[in-house]
Amino acid sequence: MSFINYSSREINCKIVYYGPGLCGKTTNLQYIYNKTNPETKGKLISLSTETDRTLFFDFLPLSLGEIRGFKTRFHLYTVPGQVFYDASRKLILKGVDGVVFVADSQVERMEANIESIENLKINLAEQGYDLNKIPFVMQYNKRDLPNAVSAEELRKVLNPRNVPEFPGVAPTGVGVFDTLKAVAKLVLSELRKGGQG
C-alpha cells in the first residue's frame, strides 16, 4: 500500500523480494546497494543471524527520481526464506505494493521454489491480496550454475501466468536492475489506476 504525501510531494512504495532460503534475495539488495549513488539510497539494514541468514528482513530505501513533481521512493524488503520463519514473512508482506519472486534455478531447489510460491499465495491471500492481481515479476537466479534447469522448465512450473521474467546471476548483477525496474514500473502503473487495489 503506497503512501502519497501531497505536502512533501513524495510517493513511497513497498516491494518485497520473496523466495526459498538461499535463492539470492539478500544478494539482489546488496548488489543494488553497491551500484546506486549515495544520494539515492539509504542504509541497507540486514536483520540476520550470526551465520548471515536473514532472520527477519533486509531493508533498502531507494529514490528513483521524480514523476510529475512527486519524488518516487521505493522501500525494498526481503523475507527470511527458511520454512520456519513463516510468521515473519507474513508480517513483511503487510502493505506490499509489488512482489519479486526470486527462484533458485538449481534442479535440487525446484521443490523449494514451488513450496515458496505456494506459501506466497497463501500469505498474500491472508492479507486480502491476490497474487494474480498484484504487481509481480519473476527472477530465475543462479543461471551461472551447471545444475540450473532450463528457463522453459522454470516458466512451466513457476510462471503459468506469464508475468515479466528475468534470468539472474545476482552476485554479478545479471538481471538485478531489470527485475527491479520491471516491478517498479508495474507498481507505478497500478497507481495510475488510482491505487484502489
Binding site: Y6, S7, S8, G42, G197
Partner: protein, 159 residues
C-alpha cells in the same frame, strides 16, 4: 486490499504541530510518527543525527513482531512499549490502530511525564487521522498519478 495512505497539506501541518508540541511538553529528544507499514510520516526534535528512514522501517518491524506475539498469547495488540537504554529511552504507542508514535527521551525528563503527554497527543492524532481517512475516501480524491503516461514511467529509468 488495504486503503492507500494519503497525506494532505492541512493534516500534515497539524500532525507536525502535534509532534513539535509533544517534543517540548514532554521534554523529549525526538518524536516520530510512523505508519504500521514502515513509512515515516512526521518527525520533530533532534532528528539530524538519526537515520529516520531506517528508524521507521525498524519501528514497523518491531510493532508487527510484537503484534504477532500478542496474538499468540491471546492479546489483540501491545499498544505501548517502553525500552530503556543507558542514556536514551524509547516509548512507542499505537494510535488509531494504524499509526505508531515514537518518543525518544533521556534523563532530562521522566517516563511519567512522557506518558502523560503522549496520551494527549495521541488523542489529537487519532482525530487528525480520522479526518485524513474521510478526506481520502471522499469522491474525487483521485490519485495524482491518474494522468501519468508510460513515457513518464520510462523516463524514471532512462539514465
Amino acid at each position: 486490499m488495504a486503503q492507500q495512505l494519503v497525506m494532505y497539506e492541512e493534516e500534515f501541518h497539524r500532525i507536525n504541530a502535534v509532534c513539535d508540541r509533544l517534543t517540548k511538553d514532554a521534554n523529549a529528544k525526538v518524536v516520530f510518527i510512523v505508519d504500521k507499514n514502515g513509512q515515516l510520516i512526521a518527525a520533530a526534535g533532534q532528528t539530524q543525527h538519526i537515520d529516520t528512514t531506517s528508524l521507521a522501517s525498524l519501528t514497523a518491524g518491531n510493532v508487527a513482531a510484537m503484534g504477532g506475539l500478542a496474538k499468540l498469547i491471546g492479546e489483540n495488540e501491545f499498544p505501548n512499549q517502553f525500552h530503556e537504554g543507558a542514556k536514551d529511552s524509547l516509548y512507542m504507542t499505537l494510535v488509531g490502530g494504524r499509526i505508531v508514535l515514537v518518543v525518544i527521551f533521556d534523563n532530562r525528563t521522566s517516563l511519567g511525564l512522557v506518558r502523560l503527554r503522549i496520551k494527549k497527543a495521541s488523542d489529537e492524532l487519532t482525530k487528525i487521522f480520522e479526518q485524513l481517512t474521510k478526506r481520502s475516501e471522499a469522491p474525487g480524491a483521485g490519485s495524482p498519478f491518474a494522468e501519468i503516461s508510460d513515457a513518464d514511467i520510462d523516463n524514471l529509468f532512462s539514465e
